[in-house]
Symmetry: C2
Subunit: 327 residues, 2 copies
């Protein structure tokens, strides 16, 4: 039987844990962090729970560790901040304190390195199901965070990457097709999402974006959040949406790529608005990630989807909500 | 069926959520906090899980909400910091999203007011069991946090309050005696613990303490943490330990008050060390909470319990460890 102290030591060994500004890290009652001059902290917390966010028999432990941290870090990217520190609270069943935990920590350590995060503290408890909660702290210059509330009529609506890939990966898993490994790209998007930290920081540095959110719940829902917070509406041009390509072999699943792109969750792309006169500063790609203008912010507080044939229809928020849908 | 947005609104309404320094609170991707001049942040995270830390059929929802926040805040007190902001991630079963949640939030809001905490963000998810994770941020003048590692040979060992009360409350509950309400004081210590924030800040302001920890796992275990971190040992004078008084009516339970005081968890008192020459600055009580010198730090790296009869024995860490004991 492993003790809590042993467990903490095992977690601790797997992560870098020193950095300028981290005065006290793991091992005391709390961490002590010294802010950089002229900086603000950006803080987010996110739960990652067995049988809601992942299934132990399906999701590799490495993916669970990676994704738990990636999801939370995506909120830091969505403010345009630089990721700095994270805290992990973890409830673990006894059978998961061996190889499963090693793999989980492997995945999380890989994510931490990629995102520039240092583990600053946490808490472990024995529990019948795996429950993780991540707190991530980022730093940003004072007053520079990009909020949901700054979109203005006339702004272009932009999105990074392609939409629907994570949902397609989930469908493959639900159809028990994940073992075939024929479509690793889509599985990767579901298992190992990539918070768009570099793009967020770029937009802050260039003062390009007036509002921003990450597409965790799906475009339709997340655009609704921007419009509500900003008191505006939007027109989305369906033909412009960068959609994931559904492989023809999956024809029998009758997957609608537009539906995936509009309502599929967990892509963790950035959805942001840019004043038209600044739109020319936007590159077509940043670090290999495409940036696409997909619509325009309107004064009228409705969200409209404009079809390729000129038809228009209201775009209802139909993304992921754990209290509305069955888990 | 309640939606996640409705739930967030219900949580949000119950807490104060504005404060100088909180630039962006609940409702965006992340909170934005502006540090005070010359300050450091003290950050802690703590899980509070159904059937490990509380039992739904036994613990009132108000207590669950209060205690979840109090436990985490006690780590802020143990650094000597001022409590500022907290974040709540919450997994809830459907039957708990009504009256149970109202009471839970009532208890947590009362704790937040008492401790001076503002809710700055969080995350809610539907879940078969109640799982909460709290992140609490405090502020402290640069370099002033009191760590576990500063105890020096010759320092007095001091503790606030009385020890063993929370464990006695737990025993009453385990014996199904909590309904009698004959011993509300002990139940209160278990249900509604009080982080010693004022004492922590007082010790920082007076530069009295060389090391500090909160007694969450029991004196024997928590003193072990101080000794290990400081590379020292300690002698504890059993006769000086401020023990909870076990009511004579409970004689049949054969409860050893010294055992409760040494190994009972969850008192959330402050255990700290003070150089002898500064000990005279210590009041006997602060804000009604007694402060007692219970021993001395030694060069020899052993923790010794000195009995009232002059006998001495090693004091083994026998406090709470969720991975060692049965939950």
């Amino acid at each position: 039987m492993v003790s809590e102290d042993q467990l903490i030591q095992r977690v601790r060994r797997r992560f870098a844990s020193t950095r300028d500004g981290l005065m006290v890290g793991i091992g005391d009652d709390a961490a002590v962090l010294r802010p950089g001059a002229g900086k603000e902290w950006v803080v987010t917390t996110d739960a990652f729970l067995e049988n809601v966010h992942f299934v132990r028999s399906v999701h590799p432990a490495k993916s669970v560790g990676y994704k738990a941290l990636a999801r939370a870090t995506s909120d830091i990217a969505a403010m345009g901040a630089r990721a700095r520190y994270f805290f992990l609270t973890l409830g673990l069943p006894d059978p998961c304190t061996g190889a499963w935990l090693d793999d989980f920590l492997d995945g999380m350590a890989r994510a931490a390195r990629r995102f520039g995060l240092i583990l600053a503290g946490g808490d472990t408890t024995k529990y019948p199901v795996i429950v993780a909660s991540l707190t991530v702290l980022g730093e940003i210059d004072r007053g520079k965070a990009i909020l949901r509330s700054g979109a203005r009529p006339g702004d272009f609506l932009c999105v990074s990457g392609k939409l629907g890939g994570a949902e397609l990966g989930l469908r493959l898993i639900q159809q028990k097709l994940q073992k075939y490994k024929k479509w690793p790209r889509f599985l990767k998007k579901h298992y190992y999402p990539e918070p768009r930290l570099a793009l967020g920081e770029w937009l802050v540095a260039r003062r390009c974006a007036t509002s921003m959110i990450d597409t965790s719940d799906g475009l339709s829902t997340d655009l609704g959040h921007i419009c509500q917070a900003s008191g505006v509406g939007a027109i989305v041009w369906a033909a412009k949406i960068p959609m994931v390509r559904v492989p023809p072999e999956l024809g029998r699943l009758r997957i609608d790529p537009l539906g995936l792109a509009l309502n599929g969750g967990e892509d963790y792309e950035l959805l942001f608005t840019v004043p038209k006169k600044r739109a020319k500063r936007l590159p077509r790609k940043l670090g290999g990630v495409p940036i696409t203008v997909i619509g325009e912010i309107t004064r009228e507080k409705k969200v409209i989807l404009l079809g390729p044939d000129g038809s228009s229809m209201p775009l209802q928020p139909e993304g992921w909500d754990p209290f509305r849908k069955k888990a």
